[in-house]
């Protein structure tokens, strides 16, 4: 038998993240690169180890190859210990019936066996699509102090954005009396962050009941939480203050990267006591050439900058040629921006080449029709030919380019 773990974390990483378009074509959302060297999943994983949680189950389903490879044995996050650590949990076949993960609750239900091995008192359910630094141990302490059955982390959002979130309506002692999923007329601006602490014995009961209900959609927000609330279980909201951002859309992913360049945004990834761990590339320090111009930017190892960058996030091994300009953009690993190319308001994925003089994206001030403006996205492994103009809001992927080239060849 394995040694008991007081808290086991379950990280929901199976989501496709379809709103990220070409960026999640070949990888699950939690594996999307962020901040010059990270992937989104580094945040919950690092939060876990920094909070003293040693056992993490990562539930995968959609395009798991990159994510599996990235997590590996968990060593970069110190999650490769002998009796605990990180475990990747894909759906599996059983003797009688087997299934994909039907919903978030079902994913945990299918892994009751995994959780039981550690006989935990509490289970913390996390998602892999937010950027934030949070001490989960404080939340667990709050859960214990309140004698709660379920504690939901909540953050104040601007009232006008509240309809996009699950809203928690609470009494003065912090207990939740109502859970409002995406309300049209929100009663408060306290939004659920999708982080739940459950007393395991209670959660197990509800998971089993939920599974037995054929009408259930097997989802935490839609089924489990309302059922617990209805039955009068003790549910509390845990107020979180600090940086928290959902990076589920192109715009929010772009914004959140840009937040790292703003000294006024309270997200410091250099903090020694709360490091964000990741798999580090083996590359030399980056080189800034004689005529380069670099400011307001984040530059990772192995980059060579000969051109000009301003408000740029460069991942490892990126090359910016002389005369090239990158502004307000994110350039992912090993991409080359060739001479005199201009990239602005864009997310350029891994292993791309932006040809000489090509123009990717546009600044909002240069576009008359504001509805036509948006962040341009270039998917993995594209070669944008020299001199080509890619309009704002466009989404390009390698297959599309190939098809187009084939059509042109036929002409």
């Amino acid at each position: 038998m394995l040694p008991k773990q007081e808290v086991v974390a379950m990280l929901l990483a199976g989501g496709q993240g379809s709103r990220l378009g070409v960026l999640t074509k070949k990888l699950a959302k939690p594996a999307v690169p962020y901040g010059g060297k990270y992937r989104i999943i580094d945040f919950p994983l690092s939060n876990c180890v920094n909070s003293g949680i040693e056992t993490v189950g990562v539930l995968t389903q959609y395009q798991p190859l990159v994510l599996n490879e990235y997590i590996g044995n968990g060593q970069p996050w110190d999650l490769d210990s002998m009796n605990a650590g990180v475990r990747v949990l894909p759906p599996y076949q059983r003797s009688r019936k087997s299934d994909w993960y039907k919903g978030t609750a079902n994913a945990i239900y299918q892994n009751i066996q995994f959780i039981e091995r550690y006989s935990p008192d509490y289970v913390i359910v996390l998602s892999g699509d937010h950027i934030y630094k949070m001490d989960y141990s404080k939340m667990v302490a709050y859960h214990k102090e309140k004698g709660a059955d379920c504690t939901i982390a909540a953050i104040e959002v601007p009232m006008e954005e509240a309809p996009r979130f699950g809203i928690l309506n609470t009494r003065s002692d912090g207990s939740v009396y109502e859970f409002d999923e995406k309300p049209k007329a929100p009663k408060s601006n306290s939004a659920s962050m999708g982080i739940y602490v459950f007393t395991w014995s209670k959660l197990r009961k509800y998971l089993e009941a939920d599974e037995a209900d054929p009408k259930s959609s097997n989802d935490f927000g839609k089924d489990i939480l309302p059922a617990m609330l209805k039955a009068g279980e003790r549910m509390f909201a845990y107020r979180f203050e600090g940086y928290w951002k959902d990076v589920g859309t192109i715009d929010s992913l772009w914004e959140s990267n840009m937040d790292l360049l703003d000294p006024n945004v309270p997200l410091d990834l250099n903090e020694d006591s709360w490091k964000i761990y990741s798999r580090n590339p083996v590359m030399p320090p980056h080189y800034i050439s004689k005529n380069a111009k670099v400011q307001n930017s984040l530059v990772a190892e192995g980059c060579n900058v000969y051109g000009e960058i301003d408000f740029a996030v460069l991942f490892s091994g990126v090359y910016i040629a002389p005369g090239a300009v990158v502004r307000d953009s994110i350039i992912m690993p090993n991409t080359r921006i060739e001479e005199n190319a201009v990239v602005q308001y864009a997310i350029v994925s891994e292993n791309n080449t932006i040809g000489r003089g090509a123009v990717v994206g546009a600044r909002p001030e240069d576009i008359a029709d504001k509805d036509k403006w948006g962040v341009t996205v270039i998917g993995d492994g594209c070669a944008i030919p020299a001199g080509v103009k890619i309009p704002p809001k466009a989404m390009i992927d390698a297959d599309m380019l190939k098809k187009e080239a084939a059509v042109n060849a036929r002409k």
């Binding site: 250099n270 990741s278 320090p285 800034i288 004689k290 307001n296 990772a300």
Partner: protein, 371 residues
């Protein structure tokens, strides 16, 4: 394929007297270099990239920082069940142990005896280069050599202590060897790397000890050069010996050249080092950087020109750092002027300070000082 019947041995303390400032509290092997490395990363990575699976690191003194850096050897993929990294601290009963290489080698006699590899590759840690030892090994085997010495052709760099100069036959056989001869012309000189049969190494070391001979070059190599099949392997890639503070500075500055970086940091033979998990370097509003090498974790709000910044360096607003080597976690506050300065790690330069050295004689600020 891993595992090629070669045991790697690295001397981590040799030639320390040449850069006393840097080795006051550390070994030669743990001298920081190139923005994120320690000198030992180069021989260690070269060995691993050449398929060597077992590496012993011979230490003598001040090896705390070295052990901290190497850890279990994980970063070089040497934390393994089958062989891997062995740190070999001084061993013996006499007070003057390990004063020479021969004594060091004698003290690890058991380690050498118990190893299974037929060949031993011995290197120092004061040479920066990216060499494929697999080529040296096949050269050695092809020539049925007893000993292969790696050499370079050209002028011996100024400051190298007791350079070995080899006389070679056209078939690369080493006929003779001179130690620190009077010469300033072109020659074939050793760069502190040799491949030797393990049994022969044990024999020669025992032989020297039994005759009370303790000079590695003179007694072990020179005396035996004609009795064995000794060959010379020429390496012509980028090489820099850290044999003076000037040379240390130059070697760091050489990294600004794309041709040097492409030889030293190859994708097919990467240089591994300890992972630190810093965030990428951040350039602030009004920052200026040119011709510089900058590592992760740096925050640059001032101006950096022609410099190497190690991990976690902070350059404050209004400060100008020019032609400098700033080691890890040093902090240069606001409105400072630094020109030709080498700071060791954790140095703090307070507001409005001005420090100026000269190209051949950079100002050195020792570890943890505050200016």
């Amino acid at each position: 394929m891993r595992g090629n019947n070669v045991l790697g041995l690295i001397f981590s303390n040799v030639h320390e007297e040449k850069v006393r400032e840097l080795t006051d509290t550390r070994t030669m092997g743990s001298v920081p270099f190139g923005g994120r490395y320690r000198l030992i990363d180069f021989p260690l990575s070269n060995m691993v990239n050449s398929g060597i699976n077992k590496v012993g690191v011979i230490t003598k003194k001040n090896y705390q920082s070295l052990m901290d850096h190497l850890g279990s050897g994980k970063a070089w993929d040497l934390s393994r069940k089958r062989e891997g990294l062995y740190i070999l601290p001084p061993f013996g009963s006499e007070s003057n142990i390990n004063n020479s290489r021969i004594e060091s080698l004698a003290s690890i006699g058991l380690f050498l005896k118990n190893s299974k590899e037929d060949l031993v590759l011995i290197t120092d840690s004061d040479i920066v280069c990216n060499i494929d030892y697999a080529d040296v090994i096949s050269f050695h085997v092809k020539n049925d050599a007893d000993i292969t010495l790696v050499y370079r052709s050209g002028k011996v760099a100024y400051g190298v202590s007791n350079p070995s100069v080899y006389m070679l036959d056209p078939d690369a056989r080493v006929r003779d060897m001179l130690i620190a001869p009077m010469s300033d012309g072109e020659c074939s000189y050793g760069i502190g790397m040799m491949l030797i049969k393990r049994a022969l190494l044990i024999k020669l070391v025992t032989d020297c000890v039994s005759r009370n001979l303790y000079n590695f070059k003179r007694d072990l190599l020179q005396r035996n050069i004609k009795s064995y099949r000794v060959f010379g392997y020429e390496f012509s890639g980028f090489t820099k010996a850290i044999c003076s503070m000037g040379a240390y500075f130059e070697a760091n500055m050489a990294l600004m050249l794309p041709s040097v970086r492409s030889q030293l940091f190859r994708q097919d033979r990467p240089v591994y080092t300890k992972v630190r998990d810093d965030m990428p370097a951040r350039y602030g509003l009004g920052a200026q950087a040119c011709n510089s090498l900058v590592a992760d974790g740096c925050v640059i709000e001032g101006e950096v020109r022609g410099s190497v910044l190690f991990r976690g360096v902070h350059v404050g607003k209004g400060s100008v750092v020019e032609n400098c080597v700033i080691m890890q976690d040093s902090e240069i506050r606001q409105n400072c002027r630094l020109n030709y300065v080498v700071t060791d790690k954790n140095v703090v330069i307070k507001d409005d300070r001005s420090l100026v050295g000269f190209q051949s004689y950079p100002v050195f600020i020792s570890k943890g000082s505050t200016v």
